[in-house]
């Protein structure tokens, strides 16, 4: 769950009284934009992306304007801008207008949980605004601090000394930066990055830090995020309808983590255990419709509901139903296989039969009972199956599932359809 941009960033910063540039949203009136330009002399027009968006290559996507006409032209140019980052393409939906902050100094500041120190860590440089990866070691400082005591003023002061920061920025930064820890720690963030913070001079020449960009990441498992009352739609772009349905079942008792890999995948693989999830997703690749972890000993009803949702979205297009996990440590195999079998029976009852091959690789408590229950269901429905115990290499079982999928694609699916009495038109 990530958030980028000053539209929401400015409001969040307000929670801890950290100064931010003035921002108007996409529905700003021309009069408001004109006033903004008047007050600040220059405005920046930035496209609004949902979720996390990398910085590389984004510079072409910032507009500058000193008059209303240019501002509106930039708005038009950037309103639906596209930005490619990694494997994803983000599409903007709107722009923000941000008052320019003239400054001599641009600061980069971030807090994150650094795994090298296993502690919250600040990264700070007064040579901000640019790509910090290009800076020399003595120009940027990375300092862990104690989570219980928090980010104290002296930590900032020491850090600024270490990089030889100009003295006029020390006092204002020492005064304001610690507040950002309050924001991060008490509102469920895992990362917070402001780049740049511009040091604006007041009438007397005293400098004040003004945040001109904002990026943060939230911890899905932290209820404190709710204190911010952020609207759900901000993070909704991350998630497909299917993922949302399943993740709604996410409780402490058994995971229900799921991610759509390929909407047209032909292997539906409910997986148990984070490790199995990793391995299975890796090996199945695009053949898989989802990457999932349903482990943690979910009770019968929950497992059945999860299965029902998965079947509803993906079963018709699937060749293989592949239930896979290692030797479970506490998940009851009978409960989970019975639930998935019952959900399958009900699905067939409501939607009619669909050609399917069931492959299971599993180990754990009540294993054979579970095999028995699922086997009976498959027998009753007439679908073929093969069950492997924990003494078969899990990676080989995954390869087997893939081979079955290939065979299905090469005519096996039709054979099963005939056996089930399904007319070709409905396949």
């Amino acid at each position: 769950m990530q958030l980028t941009g000053m539209l929401h960033g400015a409001r969040l910063l307000q929670h801890v009284d950290f100064p931010a540039s003035e921002v108007l949203g996409p529905d700003a009136s021309e009069g408001e934009i004109k006033d903004l330009i008047k007050r600040h002399g220059q405005v920046f027009i930035k496209p609004l992306f949902r979720g996390g968006v990398g910085k590389k290559g984004k510079s072409g996507l910032i507009g500058k304007a000193r008059d209303l006409k240019t501002a509106l032209a930039e708005k038009e140019r950037l309103y639906f801008a596209e930005h490619r980052h990694g494997n994803a393409v983000a599409k903007a939906n709107g722009v923000t207008f941000e008052g320019g902050v003239p400054a001599e100094h641009e600061i980069y500041f971030s807090i994150t949980d650094d795994t090298r120190f296993r502690a919250p860590t600040i990264t700070l440089t007064h040579k901000g605004g640019v790509d910090i990866e290009e800076l020399g070691k003595d120009e940027i400082t990375t300092v862990p601090f104690d989570a219980l005591t928090g980010l104290k003023a002296f930590v900032i002061a020491n850090a600024l000394s270490d990089i030889g920061a100009p003295k006029e920025i020390i006092s204002p930064l020492v005064q304001h930066l610690p507040k950002l820890w309050e924001l991060m720690h008490h509102y469920g963030m895992t990362t917070l990055e402001l780049n740049p913070i511009r040091m604006r001079a007041d009438r007397n020449g005293r400098l004040m830090p003004v945040a001109c960009d904002f990026k943060c990441g939230f911890d899905r498992d932290d209820p404190r995020v709710a204190r911010l009352n952020l609207p759900d739609h901000l993070f909704a772009a991350d998630v497909s309808a299917f993922e949302q349905e399943v993740n709604e079942l996410r409780t402490h008792q058994g995971q229900s983590d799921v991610f759509v890999i390929n909407e047209k995948g032909t292997i539906l693989a409910p997986t148990f255990g984070g490790g199995a999830n990793s391995l299975v997703t890796e090996v199945l690749g695009e053949a898989a419709s989802i990457s999932s972890d349903f482990g943690g000993n979910p009770p019968y009803e929950k497992m059945k509901e999860v299965a029902r949702i998965c079947y509803r979205h993906f079963l018709r297009q699937s060749n293989v139903l592949f239930i896979i996990g290692g030797k479970s440590n506490n998940t009851d195999i009978h409960e989970t296989l019975r639930a998935m079998g019952d959900a399958l029976r009900e699905h067939f009852g409501v939607h009619g039969p669909t050609p399917l091959y069931v492959v299971v690789g599993r180990g754990g408590p009540n294993l054979v009972r579970g095999f028995g229950a699922l086997g009976e269901t498959c027998d009753a429905l007439g679908i073929p199956y093969r069950f492997f115990g924990f003494d078969s290499a899990i990676s080989e079982v995954v390869n087997y599932a893939k081979s079955i999928d290939d065979w299905m694609k090469a005519g096996g699916r039709d054979q099963i359809a005939t056996h089930l009495g399904i007319k070709p038109a409905t396949l």
């Binding site: 990793s278 027998d379 093969r386 899990i394």
Partner: protein, 903 residues
């Protein structure tokens, strides 16, 4: 008071050697010991470790205890209470829910000065809390393992702390050896240990580290303890992307590192392992590089390309770990710990390709699983028939369902409209075997039921006649008869079917009709043989021979009948009944479509069908060897169920044109879903006997339950339509209702009635009275359109029209609904409903006899009711069997809150 850590580390680290991670000296306190997961796991850990849990906490549950095989573990409200009671511990295990973990850790640290380490099992801990936990533990000097982990275990000291490593039987996977395991995945920790044993490698210490953002006991910490552990010659690391934990770690001794998760670069969200979302620089590929640098190899190890060095190897497939380790260790001349145990090749335990041909490479035959699983699987295979989980079955049915749009009911997936087109006997076994009987099974059913219909000399007939003479409705008469057919009356038949199933269960027989099956290997002992043979009381009963003769005459095939005949001697009627029922039930039983209980009880239903039909025929018609004047030989040898039912209603043998409409009628009436009162009666009767002890359920009593829950309004109202038609056609000179050239002006008749009905309606409105509903017209679901249709009526009408069958009463109804609209009596054209069809068909069948005076109106009414009962008893059988298999005792009871009192 701060503990002193190991020198040379920029943070606190207390564990100096892997041998200290999980020792027999460690004393453990479990927070939230009575929680769901701990309840399952802690006792096993405690027993395996020789009793290392000294107490646990659970607020408000002080005084309770957790049972284990070696004694109870006391529970206190909090840690201080436990310490005050005299217990001492150095290790905490946290099973608290995510929001409580941080404070639990604080409690352990603050309250117990002797605390050395904590294992946190809980997953989904907020990063906020993880930060503070780290800071607190570092501040005090306490080692933490986890969060989101499965704890630690030691194969040498036979100790397990925290989670469920090794599952319920840790002694199976924790084999003593020389390899240490450190894994980000809890489940894979055990899997890796198992895999290692296939190459002969055992384990020393196993650590499940979890994969949260904060890994409190990480690779660097493990590496230090590993270097100092003399028992461990090598280690296996399983790492996922995210975090710099594995960068520049010096292990000192050989390590195989497995890095899985290249695909995670695609993710924008963590799945399963919160910390396994890499940013940049700590992706799977980066970690592979770190390890390759540390080991001095330039590529990954695969079986095709086994790149290793003395320092280690990097794999991305866990199946390659064992071979990679052996290869690495070989370079220093080291060999595995013991002879290889098992292998990782594909070994299916259970498979069924359902007769579909797979390519040889995929059609891997099942192997014998390791014990104890092999024995469990053998038990499964012995099980004949399906086993159904029980649940509350009030107002629920696995046998019938009504489509709310079309109001058409299906029984075991077949709609009653389709059943109406099948021969009647094809539907008789449907409720139990879930399949329509083909011609062979149909013929056998005809004989089996026919053998039960003639009740001459049986007290049942006395009871039925007495009920009839007392003026009871047809269902009550049938109920009196069914009530007599109690457990003792079917005990021997049921024992025979049970014996037949036992005898043939493991035989490989797939189809009861397969007379080529060689049953030579089926051995019968004396007692069972005697069970099948007719006793002295049956010496004068000609029916066994008559039945066998009829089977030959009709060309019926049955392995079980052949088997009985091969025993020599004279089989009893009960044995023959059981043989026929088992023939029909065998294939669905073996294919696990039905339960063993259903197959065993089928004879009871067949006997009940026969008795109920017989009871509907007055006593004087039952004579030795003949029924209504028709000989036994003829009935057994040629007659169908529909023929018998027609005989019962009219006393005559039907022509084919007469049998077919009756068959359709009865089929249509088979079921109206579990909500109908008749179904409720049947289900309630089963529920009251208690289906969870199926031997005590009196199936005949359940039939009585169905019968008593029909009546003049439900089931008997078929006559209303007939009465209405009789009135309309009173003055008409109608000779043959099936002849289209009847010369009547139906339109005029309809219009005349419509006008008078409209007038009646108007005056009733003025007087404030209730207007009578017209039978056969309108329906609460099929209404509102300008012209309405009942799909069931349409179905029958279309079918009959296609065959050129005409029915004047039906035609009249069509005119009627139009006329009602034309005269303004109804706001739109009502549908002709299925009751109209039933009335029209039945009246047409009985018209000639009625006109001739052989049948009175009372007889017509009885006939309508009886036809309903013939159909509905099939649906009732379905509900009874369904509830018997699926229901719970007393489940049809309505809770008090759903009832109310009325003044």
């Amino acid at each position: 008071m701060q503990n002193q850590g190991i020198g040379g580390f920029p943070y606190y680290l207390g564990i100096n050697s892997l041998a200290d991670v999980a020792t027999r000296a460690d004393r453990v306190c479990v927070l939230n010991i009575l929680g769901g997961e701990s309840r399952q796991v802690t006792p096993t850990s405690h027993v395996f470790s020789g009793g290392n849990v000294v107490f646990g906490t659970s607020p408000g549950r002080s005084g309770q205890s957790l049972k284990t095989a070696i004694g109870n573990i006391p529970v206190y409200n909090n840690v201080r209470e436990g310490l005050d009671a005299g217990h001492a511990f150095n290790t905490g295990v946290v099973y608290l829910p995510p929001s409580g973990v941080r404070d639990g850790v604080a409690e352990l640290i603050r309250v117990n000065p002797d605390l050395k380490k904590i294992v946190i099992i809980t997953e989904k801990i907020a990063v906020h809390d993880a930060r503070e936990i780290r800071a607190m533990a570092q501040g005090k000097g306490v080692d933490i393992i986890g969060g989101n982990c499965l704890g630690v275990a030691d194969s040498w000291s036979r100790t397990r702390i925290g989670g469920a490593l090794g599952g319920d039987h840790p002694e199976e996977s924790l084999l003593q050896g020389t390899v240490a395991v450190f894994s980000n995945s809890g489940g894979f920790t055990t899997t890796i240990a198992q895999y290692l044993s296939t190459e002969g490698w055992g384990t020393t210490t196993l650590v499940s580290s979890g994969k949260d953002v904060y890994i409190h006991y990480a690779a660097r910490d493990f590496a230090h303890a590993f270097r100092n552990d003399g028992r461990s010659r090598a280690a296996v690391l399983y790492a996922e992307p995210g975090g710099y934990y594995e960068q520049e770690v010096d292990f000192g001794k050989p390590v195989v590192a497995c890095v899985v998760g290249r695909w995670k670069s695609k993710l924008t969200r963590a799945v399963g392992h919160a910390g396994a979302m890499a940013g940049s620089g700590d992706r799977a590929e980066d970690k592979e590089r770190w390890f390759m640098q540390a080991f001095g190899v330039d590529g990954l190890y695969t079986p095709e390309n086994p790149i290793v060095s003395r320092k280690g190897a990097v794999v991305t497939n866990i199946a390659h770990i064992p071979a990679a380790l052996t290869a690495v260790m070989k370079l220093s001349g080291a060999s595995p710990d013991f002879a290889p145990r098992g292998s990782l090749s594909l070994k299916p335990w259970i498979a069924n390709d359902q007769g579909i041909e797979l390519p040889a490479a995929l059609a891997i035959p099942p192997v014998t699983a390791p014990e104890p699983y092999a024995a469990q699987i053998a038990e499964l295979a012995k099980q004949v028939g399906v086993v159904i989980a029980r649940q509350n079955m009030k107002d629920r049915s696995g046998a019938s369902v009504m489509d709310s749009k079309t109001q058409v009911t299906s029984v075991h997936g077949i709609s009653v409209l389709d059943l109406a087109l099948e021969p009647l006997q094809a539907s008789f076994a449907l409720p139990l075997v879930h399949e329509i009987a083909g011609p062979n099974d149909g013929a056998l059913l005809d004989i089996a039921v026919a053998a039960e219909v003639n009740l001459v000399g049986d007290p049942i007939l006395v009871a039925a006649d007495a009920a009839r003479d007392a003026g009871n409705s047809p269902n009550t008469v049938m109920a009196a008869a069914a009530a007599v057919v109690g457990p003792k009356r079917v005990a021997r038949a049921l024992a025979c079917s049970r014996a037949l199933i036992d005898l043939f269960a493991g035989s490989g027989l797939k189809d009861g009709r397969d007379e080529s099956f060689d049953f030579g290997h089926v051995k019968v002992d004396e007692a069972t043989r005697a069970l099948f043979m007719a006793g002295a009381d049956e010496a004068d009963d000609p029916r066994p021979e008559a039945m066998l003769k009829a089977v030959r005459q009709r060309g019926g095939r049955s392995v079980f009948l052949k088997f009985l005949e091969a025993l020599g001697g004279r089989p009893s009627r009960d044995a023959l009944l059981a043989a026929i029922s088992t023939t029909i039930a065998w294939s669905p039983l073996v294919r696990k479509r039905i339960s063993r209980l259903t197959a065993e009880t089928l004879p009871w239903y067949l006997r009940l069908y026969g008795v109920m039909v017989g009871a509907s025929i007055p006593g004087d018609q039952h004579q030795p060897g003949s029924l209504c004047g028709i000989s036994r030989e003829e009935r057994f040898g040629e007659w169908t169920m529909a023929d018998l039912c027609f005989l019962a209603i009219t006393g005559k043998k039907p022509t084919e044109d007469e049998a077919r409409p009756l068959q359709m009628l009865i089929g249509l009436l088979i079921s109206n879903g579990p909500g109908s009162i008749s179904a409720q009666g049947a289900k309630g009767a089963v529920s009251a006997d208690g289906p969870q002890t199926p031997d005590r359920v009196q199936i005949n009593k359940a039939m009585v339950g169905f019968l008593t829950h029909t009546g003049y309004s439900h089931g008997g109202n078929g006559f209303e339509g007939m009465a209405f038609l009789l009135q309309q056609f009173k003055a008409a000179d109608l000779k043959d209702p099936t002849d289209a050239d009847h010369g009547l002006d139906l339109k005029a008749m309809a219009t005349a009635f419509a006008k008078s009905y409209k007038a009646e309606k108007r005056s009733a409105k003025e007087l404030g009275g209730e207007m009578r509903a017209l039978p056969g017209v309108h329906h609460p679901v099929f209404k509102g359109k300008p012209v309405n249709h009942d799909p069931r009526e349409r179905f029958i009408a279309d079918f009959l029209a296609a065959r050129g069958n005409y029915n004047v009463f039906h035609a009249f109804y069509r005119e009627l609904v139009q006329a009602l609209y034309d005269t303004g009596a109804t706001p739109y054209v009502f549908c002709v409903n299925v009751d109209a069809v039933i009335a029209a068909l039945l009246l047409a069948l009985l018209w000639k006899d009625y006109k001739a005076g052989t049948l009175t109106e009372r007889d017509l009414e009885t006939a309508a009711f009886t036809v309903f009962l013939y159909g509905r008893m099939i649906g009732a059988a379905a509900e009874i069997d369904d509830h018997l298999n699926r229901g719970r005792n007393m489940d049809t009871r309505t809770p008090e809150a759903a009832c109310s009192f009325v003044m």
